[in-house]
């Protein structure tokens, strides 16, 4: 593990991102009961884009190299290229068929191994959760694997005297935490406005060489610890029923009467207590 970055060496920030189907395009394949990913418009998981923006802001103010890491099929190149066009220095895609169907345990393991292969990291950033699976387990899982300090649900990260300071949204208030480097932060969805790709960034992407593809063998990932069969959890079935139907009691007409009827209903149903 690396210590705090010296004056000589730029800080290395690794941002873990996932490519997800755009929120309004989520479709379930009726046969496999998994998320349809082919032919559906994708984007960088929005909280991961917020994490990337935090990394790029740190890079704006400190000597830092931003490395973007993802795990998935080569179609994820699209998001890695976008990340580089936004200002990341380079990217790594861990891509291997044997990773297919991994739940959060092998995912955190495989990403941790890949982070160690990248090496020399001072800060790891992830989104607080993905918009497609919504577990929020992978970031803390990586910190657990790598035995790093973790600060979850952060909206702001500062580097002060070679330490990380992060503002965390906790259950009852806002906290400022300090840790040594390296450490891992997960970033709040919507805490900033991710920048757009720049012309210079797009040119760098066009020139090529901004993405490397690694297989599990390249990284030294144990095949017996990844993939569907080595995941502790399975999705036994998916009930395709939508959310429970809502009562839909709609009042109209004279507002005095409709408000009275509404409040009666709300109080009777114990939705509102006076």
């Amino acid at each position: 593990m690396s210590g705090p970055p010296s004056e000589m060496r730029p800080m290395r920030i690794i941002v873990c991102i996932k490519q997800v189907p755009k929120a309004q395009e989520l479709q379930v394949d009726p046969v496999t009961q998994t998320l349809k990913r082919v032919g559906v418009p994708s984007e960088i998981n929005p909280p991961d884009a917020n994490a990337l923006e935090i990394a790029l802001r740190l890079k704006d103010h400190h000597a830092a190299e931003v490395v973007v890491l993802s795990m998935g099929p080569t179609s994820f190149d699209e998001s890695l290229e976008r990340a580089v066009a936004m200002g990341a220095d380079r990217s790594v895609l861990l891509t291997d068929r044997i990773l297919g169907g991994s739940d959060t345990v092998p995912t955190a393991y495989a990403l941790s191994e890949t982070i160690q292969k990248i090496g020399g990291y001072d800060l790891i950033l992830t989104g607080e959760e993905t918009t497609d699976a919504s577990t929020g387990h992978v970031g803390p899982g990586i910190a657990g694997h790598l035995d790093l300090p973790q600060i979850t649900y952060v909206s702001e990260v500062r580097i002060v005297d070679g330490t990380i300071r992060a503002r965390r949204t906790a259950e009852d208030g806002t906290e400022w935490w300090q840790t040594n480097m390296p450490s891992l932060c997960t970033v709040n969805f919507g805490c900033n406005k991710p920048r757009s790709p720049t012309l210079t960034g797009k040119i760098r992407v066009k020139r090529g060489g901004v993405i490397v593809h690694w297989s599990c063998a390249d990284v030294g990932i144990d095949p017996k610890k990844v993939g569907l069969l080595n995941s502790p959890t399975i999705v036994a079935k998916v009930d395709t029923i939508r959310l429970p139907p809502r009562a839909g009691r709609i009042f109209s007409g004279d507002s005095k009467e409709s408000v009275r009827a509404l409040l009666d209903a709300l109080i009777r149903d114990r939705v509102v207590a006076l």
């Binding site: 959060t104 694997h145 300090p149 973790q150 009852d172 840790t179 919507g190 959310l243 009691r249 709300l266």
Partner: protein, 355 residues
């Protein structure tokens, strides 16, 4: 750090555990709610229900927790556990689980509960299902962990068949807390867990508590009154605030209202804003774009007030009023005041702009 522990012979694992979180001298809502569901699962499995309470000086809280239906509480008392920190808490849970081998471990899906569960499941290499809304026991005795998936469009049944313990998190207000029985007897067990100063790898520099005064946060509120483009003017948010005050709720807004510069971004509900899940979400003058739905569709009850009967949000409404919000809101406020016995004299003044 990981050791493949979770794959040990699962027949050695027995009992249901609930991770307990304290708050201002009591238990968090989500913890008492978990005890209720944990009790049901423990009874189904014919095993004891144990609460896990790391902290410092928490014996009185442990005593109180038993009254919600626990058989025993394991207290780990250490000054290093006075406030929640990921690493020492994960160490405590990992060591206790290795020692005592529970079959099921439940966490509240609070910020700290998720922080802890995510770290712990990687250390123990066992399954963790997030944000479960229902549990069953399947024919083989596995915990069937049911959670919304794919953006809330369906429910997935998650099983963790080979690894133990089976772990899951549950959001606040999914289960109902059992009544507290002060006469209930249970055992309080003090366990020692080895911690070193190096485990304190994060330092809390500052804490600003969210204050209820004038700023109850929408994520925290049981009732959220949210305004959209239909409000027409930032001044009219005062009407929402007046209603929210009477209901003990918080105000929020749609993206259109935020983008119009009427209210700060911190109040925005939806895909690019916050997700709220109150007991009652009141949408005023919000038509209901898919992006807005993403931030509020898991609310327990939804009340829609809109002048347009074709507003898409009516499709997911539990209650609705088709009408002019500038008539409906003042009328609601007036009738609420009357029902409460009239703390406020006369109906609230309607903003001149609204007439």
């Amino acid at each position: 750090m990981t050791d493949g522990y979770g794959l040990e012979d699962k027949s050695h694992f027995r009992g249901v555990w609930v991770f307990l979180e304290g708050r201002a001298g009591g238990l968090r809502d989500v913890s008492t709610q978990l005890i209720g569901e944990g009790r049901r699962l423990a009874d189904l499995r014919g095993t004891p229900l144990t609460g896990i309470l790391p902290g410092h000086g928490v014996d009185a809280l442990a005593e109180r927790a038993i009254g919600y239906g626990l058989d025993r509480v394991i207290v780990v008392d250490d000054p290093m556990l006075e406030i929640y920190r990921s690493r020492p808490y994960a160490q405590v849970m990992a060591q206790l689980i290795r020692r005592q081998k529970p079959e099921i471990v439940l966490f509240g899906a609070s910020k700290n509960g998720r922080d802890l569960g995510g770290r712990l499941h990687a250390i123990l290499e066992t399954g963790l299902a997030a944000d479960c809304v229902k549990f069953d026991i399947d024919a083989e005795g596995n915990l069937d962990m049911i959670r919304p998936s794919f953006g809330g469009k369906s429910l997935a049944h998650i099983l963790c068949k080979k690894h133990r313990p089976q772990m899951a998190s549950v959001r606040r207000n999914v289960f109902v807390a059992p009544p507290h029985n002060p006469d209930r007897r249970g055992e309080i067990v003090h366990e020692q867990v080895e911690l070193s100063p190096q485990d304190l790898d994060a330092k809390l520099l500052e804490f600003d508590e969210f204050t209820k005064e004038g700023g109850l946060r929408p994520e925290e509120a049981d009732i959220v009154v949210s305004g959209g483009f239909g409000l027409g003017d930032p001044k009219n948010f005062q009407l929402l605030q007046d209603l929210a005050d009477r209901l003990g709720g918080a105000i929020a807004a749609s993206r259109k209202a935020v983008d119009s510069g009427w209210v700060p971004k911190t109040l925005q509900v939806g895909q690019t804003g916050m997700t709220v899940r109150p007991k009652l979400y009141i949408a005023v003058g919000i038509s209901g774009a898919v992006q807005h739905l993403a931030g509020m569709q898991e609310s327990d009850k939804i009340l829609v007030i809109n002048i347009d009967p074709k507003a898409p949000l009516f499709e997911i409404a539990d209650y609705g009023i088709v009408g002019d919000l500038f008539e409906v809101l003042p009328e609601m406020i007036r009738q609420l005041d009357a029902l409460k016995g009239g703390g406020v004299a006369g109906p609230p003044a309607l903003p001149a702009e609204a007439r």
